[in-house]
Symmetry: C2
Subunit: 227 residues, 2 copies
């Protein structure tokens, strides 16, 4: 699930209207409102570590005690945020890597899928980009694990596609780490691009595609013994 | 100037002891205390955007009004932090790139210089890594400009070293951008490494060296017309 599939943070759960929903949906909406409230507060320049349970429930428009029906503590909410940011994207990227297309097209397609996802999940990515080196060790290591999953999945996909038959498993993973980190880094640039500037957006997309292609080019030449 | 050349944030400027210093030094010490106070607060999990002038002066152990004798506002303090993080490092890296050494050694040397600098300027790098995608547009674009200077200097150094004679200026810059972003990304990993684990530190350093070498390998093959 991603941020966009949820009610906007601006619309807290109204009790009256809420009564009309079945219990399960009601619970889900409150949970979503809490997550969106945390994202909203961080979008206002707050770090995750500085968020309090009471302000999250206040912004979400629910009573403080209801927080515990959904999360053990704010850390658990943060972990859900990390998971949400990666889950759907990982699936979409694996789709984009399905065999068939030439490597060049696969790279372009992956960059486009990623870019579209980042733009439609802005707050999640600002959260991940910021908290990757943020104050909470729990969240930092959760983000690290999530990024490792991207790297592992890409490594296994490329192995099955046999794009770099000469690379050792370690080197193939190093290549994928380089690509994943490059694209993670690209998220901030993508989000900071002035909206509507199509020419600049195209230049940026080409630049990201070229960076990944250059890494792949290096991977084709890479020999462990020589390095 | 870097963080380590300053009085530790724990030691606020004591008025009595301060009287003994010449006016210039006294002014410098207060300024450093304010900067260290901001770094300390961010190290406690606060985002730069959420820092208030009063708490910075409180942590620094000076009166609020004295802040304005050093900075126009908190943003100006943030800009100084960005500048401090890059200034010395840029000089050190240019040194490491001076002609003479083989490319392989130049890469290893640069990675080592960078690693040592990151470790001895921990708070500065956590600030840059976090605020690069943080809530303050002013700081974000200042960090972007600082990173661009690293890329420009590396581009001009590599051009003079004629390591990639076949690359167009645009492609050479793209290669340098890839390297600089990869190392900027590496800062968090370097800082999160358990201290004292020499074996792991060596593995990490080799991994960073290999990533840069692989990029250079790709750069040797890169042809604009083919991509």
């Amino acid at each position: 699930m991603t941020a966009r599939s949820r009610s906007a943070p601006e619309s807290p759960v109204g009790a009256d209207e809420d009564e009309l929903l079945p219990r399960g949906q009601r619970k889900q909406r409150t949970r979503d409102a809490l997550i969106d409230a945390a994202l909203q507060l961080m979008n206002e320049g707050r770090s995750f570590n500085s968020l309090g349970l009471r302000e999250i429930t206040r912004v979400a428009g629910v009573v403080p005690t209801s927080f515990y029906r959904h999360f053990k503590d704010t850390n658990e909410l943060g972990l859900v945020l990390v998971e949400e940011s990666g889950l759907t994207l990982r699936r979409m990227l694996r789709e984009a890597r399905r065999a068939g297309a030439p490597v060049k097209d696969m790279i372009r397609r992956s960059v486009q899928v990623y870019k579209a996802f980042v733009l439609s999940n802005r707050l999640h990515f600002l959260f991940v980009a910021g908290e990757r080196s943020g104050g909470s060790p729990v969240i930092r290591s959760a983000i690290r694990n999530e990024v490792d999953q991207f790297i592992d999945e890409m490594t296994s996909d490329l192995r099955h596609l046999a794009i770099f038959p000469k690379l050792s498993p370690e080197s193939l993973r190093m290549v994928c780490e380089l690509v994943v980190n490059t694209m993670l880094h690209a998220a901030t640039d993508i989000l900071d691009l002035p909206p509507g500037d199509q020419a600049l957006a195209k230049l940026q997309e080409d630049n990201h595609v070229h960076q990944v292609r250059l890494i792949f080019l290096g991977a084709q030449l890479w020999r462990d013994e020589a390095n």
